[in-house]
């Protein structure tokens, strides 16, 4: 066995030497003499430090991705390579013609549709409120709202399961306190997904609040003064000044939110098991079950590739739709 460290060393050498070799060849052809141009010489240390990061990414990100793509075209076996067969696009054809796959995509899309826009609006609203506070309080609220994001998903799921316990959880205690009946939160097909969406609304705004606070804080106050002088209402000020000027931030929050939303996994694994009635059976959970419970590595890899393409496609569409520059 070749130790991973040896692979890493080789990759560092690759990324450190190959770009320079390419640049040196390019410069020699262009200038007709040996050595790097002055401009390319200045890139030397940048490449040295980039080489380490690129080596790490190659070994633990790009290479596994390439292997997964390769595996998605095969009937991967647990015995040996000779028992693995190239099946072409058969895995993809089977997945795309499977109604269950489309059901999981729909479930995930519903989850994203109800969490992402709300998350953007909630983050923006909270950021605006935070910016009205004195600086020390701003720091406190930013930290407090960011904290749920750093908690382990396992811990968060356990806490939420306790809150929404079907028996005497906190949520049911609140309901019964105002005379309503207790609910079977994770045992009712009509409630399980709304509970997960609500959990995301209240806990997944940390990054959005931080970036929106920074973006809104950088909007020159003159715009707001002009709006005030012109007699604009708060709503008009928001739609005509704040919203357009934080569009780049909205693009960032949207794209990252889409990626995180379509990769949702922990609630299905830790709380609902994909149910009830498969109402919370997300795509990522389907990939996980296919990998580890059905041992169908080829199909699971194909599903993962399709999920990646789906996320990329939606992100591109979103980016093109939202990423328009606004200047005043």
């Amino acid at each position: 066995m070749v130790y991973p460290l040896w692979y890493l060393v080789g990759l560092v050498a690759f990324w450190g030497v190959v770009p320079f070799a390419v640049l040196a060849a390019f410069d020699r052809k262009r200038r007709g003499k040996r050595g790097l141009s002055t401009r390319h010489q200045q890139w030397f240390w940048a490449y040295v430090f980039l080489a380490a990061a690129l080596a790490w990414s190659t070994l633990f990100l790009f290479w596994p991705m390439a292997k997964a793509v390769h595996q998605s075209f095969s009937d991967f076996s647990l015995t040996s390579a000779t028992a693995t067969h190239w099946v072409g696009a058969a895995n993809y054809a089977r997945i795309l013609s499977d109604p269950f796959w489309w059901r999981t995509v729909l479930v995930t899309a519903v989850y994203v549709a109800f969490t992402l826009p709300a998350s953007i609006l909630i983050s923006m609203f909270l950021a605006i409120q935070i910016l009205k506070q004195p600086q020390p309080l701003q720091t406190f609220f930013k930290a407090a709202l960011y904290l749920p994001g750093v908690i382990s998903p396992v811990v968060a799921a356990a806490v939420m399961k306790g809150i929404f316990h079907s028996g005497d959880g906190f949520a049911n205690a609140l309901l019964q306190g105002v005379g309503l009946s207790a609910q079977n939160w994770f045992g009712d097909p009509a409630l399980a997904m709304p509970v997960l969406i609500f959990m995301t609304w209240i806990s997944a705004n940390g990054v959005g609040v931080i970036v929106y606070a920074a973006a809104i804080g950088n909007i020159p106050s003159t715009y707001y003064e002009v709006a005030t002088i012109d007699g604009a209402s708060a709503f008009r000020t928001f739609t005509s000044v704040t919203w357009p000027l934080v569009k780049p931030t909205t693009v960032f929050v949207t794209v990252t939110g889409l990626i995180a939303g379509f990769q949702v996994f922990a609630p299905a694994l830790l709380i609902t098991g994909g149910g009830p009635l498969q109402t919370t059976y997300f795509v990522n959970y389907h990939v996980y079950r296919t990998f580890y419970y059905q041992n169908d590595f080829g199909t699971a890899s194909a599903m993962a590739v399709l999920l990646m393409l789906l996320i990329v496609a939606i992100s591109i569409v979103n980016y093109r739709w939202l990423a328009t520059d606004v200047e005043y």
């Binding site: 050595g35 647990l78 994770f186 149910g275 498969q278």
Partner: protein, 523 residues
């Protein structure tokens, strides 16, 4: 340019230092077929930490004890969490880096084996390491569970049986008019079980709301309830033995068991429907709970009369767990739970459910690539050491009360540890030595029929994941009647099995049979 040259030299020096470092660290793997004991051979061991953490320290201490007294063989111990163990083992096998010794059981390797893509990966244990006489002393269940092609494939550390039993509140059961000892002795029918559930479901504090229920279980358990708990009592143990498949005698082909009929599936679905929607004796709040929460309802809060019990001696285990928690001040109330274990109901009196029994033990995996006979022998020595009764006395009995396979022999060695007069030990021993549990004996990997079985079994599992258990949930949530659900269930199951059968490659017998049929039709 000069600077770049110097930088490249520095990098090259660093690379060569790292290369020498990794080469020196690489252990000598030895040559194939060499019987000489190697110096500093390393045997990797993976343990599945079953319930709690006490085993972890114990096994690392065992590894230290071995390493101190065996300089020729070094144990590299890894204790892993229960939830991630199977997936890590599969990944390790897939990437060609499996451990040498692993804690096997709960069909860890079998589930991989019946996937049709994994040949027999456990090394047969030679007689010198596990004599036949010792294996016979452990009982027929152990022998059937671990013997493959005439040799055992695991050093057993305990026998398990799950499914087919109910964990019940004895007081509530007695108040409902049922004697747990009589149910254990004679079994009971589905109608009696339903009646008991109904009687346990009541408003105990007179506020007009039901606050105790006869039964409870979660949605994540419906598959187990269908296949291993309610189902076998209705369709019979033969259908359960090979997960709905059977080997047709004349053709020697695996097919869907004829005993699994639409009527019987409808009966099982109807039991779900009756408990939840008609009798309303199944607490609907438990559908969204997990296993620990349901047991808390039964054991601590005592709002539940019965749930599926997992193993024949679980009443003893849960009582001891409660007492340990109570000693730490972690439970509410001072009155210990009065728990009991009874059988799951059956369709007809005089029949029994089908607990699924097997063996947990240490197995040696075939190495990928092969590291030699000497290394395999060292791995066998390590596995035998880990399964020694003296070590089992400390690990298994101390925390988990897992009785070793040869209970009588162990009781003679450590009488203070095995209370043979304990009624639950007696019940457990009686069950494990009876014909009631079903033991899925390993199939021969060289038999073509085994490969076909593996494909069909996997197809059923996959169909169940996507569609099968959905029918149970649709009955639970009143979207389908039990009869309609059973009809669709059987149609889907037959289609899945047919599609899997058609995907199987032709064997010589298939071709000959097809040719013979063609000739017969033509004539």
């Amino acid at each position: 340019m000069k600077q770049a040259f110097i930088a490249i030299l520095v990098i090259a020096l660093g690379l060569s230092w790292l290369w020498f470092w990794t080469v020196l660290e690489a252990p000598d793997s030895g040559s194939g077929g060499d019987k000489q004991i190697l110096a500093s051979d390393m045997v990797s061991v993976w343990i599945n930490e079953l319930i709690g953490s006490p085993d972890e320290a114990h096994y690392y201490q065992l590894a230290g004890l071995w390493n101190a007294s065996h300089p020729d063989v070094h144990i590299k111990m890894a204790v892993m969490s229960h939830s991630g163990y199977q997936s890590k083992l599969r990944v390790a096998l897939a990437t060609g880096q499996p451990p040498d010794v692993y804690l096997s059981g709960y069909a860890d390797i079998d589930t991989l084996q019946y996937s049709g893509k994994v040949s027999d990966l456990s090394v047969p244990i030679p007689e010198a390491f596990l004599p036949d006489a010792a294996l016979e002393g452990m009982g027929p269940l152990v022998r059937r569970a671990i013997t493959r092609d005439g040799r055992p494939t695991a050093f057993p550390i305990y026998r398990y049986a799950y499914g087919g039993v109910i964990l019940a509140n004895r007081g509530m059961l007695t108040a409902a008019g049922y004697d747990d000892a009589a149910v254990r002795e004679n079994g009971w029918t589905v109608d009696a079980f339903r009646d008991a559930c109904k009687r346990m479901t009541r408003d105990s504090d007179g506020d007009g709301n039901i606050d105790t229920w006869g039964f409870g279980a979660a949605l994540i358990h419906v598959q187990q309830l269908f296949i291993d708990e309610f189902g076998p009592g209705i369709w019979g143990r033969d259908v359960s033995l090979r997960h709905f498949l059977y080997l047709e005698p004349p053709s020697q082909e695996w097919k869907l068991h004829p005993g699994l009929t639409e009527d019987k599936v409808a009966e099982v679905f109807a039991l779900f429907d009756h408990l939840l929607n008609i009798d309303k004796s199944w607490n609907p709040a438990t559908l969204g709970m997990n296993w620990n929460e349901i047991n808390e309802e039964l054991i601590t809060r005592r709002t539940l009369g019965m749930t599926f019990g997992e193993s024949p001696w679980s009443a003893k285990l849960w009582r001891e767990t409660w007492e340990a928690d109570h000693a730490r001040g972690a439970t509410q109330g001072d009155e210990p739970p009065d728990l009991t274990v009874i059988w799951m109901p059956t369709r007809e009196s005089g029949t029994w459910p089908a607990p699924r029994a097997g063996v947990l033990g240490f197995s040696v995996l075939k190495q990928i690539p092969y590291k030699g006979d000497a290394h395999t022998e060292n791995a066998l020595r390590v596995a035998k050491f880990l399964s020694d009764p003296a070590h089992l006395a400390r690990s298994q009995l101390r925390r988990f009360r897992h009785l070793p396979p040869d209970t009588r022999a162990f009781a003679q060695l450590f009488p203070e540890l095995v209370p043979t007069d304990d009624p639950w030990v007696q019940f457990y021993t009686k069950v494990m030595e009876s014909e009631i549990p079903v033991v899925e004996e390993p199939l021969s990997p060289g038999d073509p029929a085994t490969a076909r079985y593996a494909v069909l079994r996997l197809a059923i599992d996959r169909w169940f994941e996507k569609e099968g258990k959905g029918y149970i949930e649709q009955v639970i949530y009143h979207r389908l009647t039990p009869r309609d659900a059973a009809k669709q269930f059987m149609e889907g199951l037959r289609a899945a099995v047919t599609a899997a059968t058609q995907s199987l490659p032709d064997t010589e017998e298939d071709s000959s049979r097809r040719d013979a049929e063609t000739q017969r039709k033509e004539s």
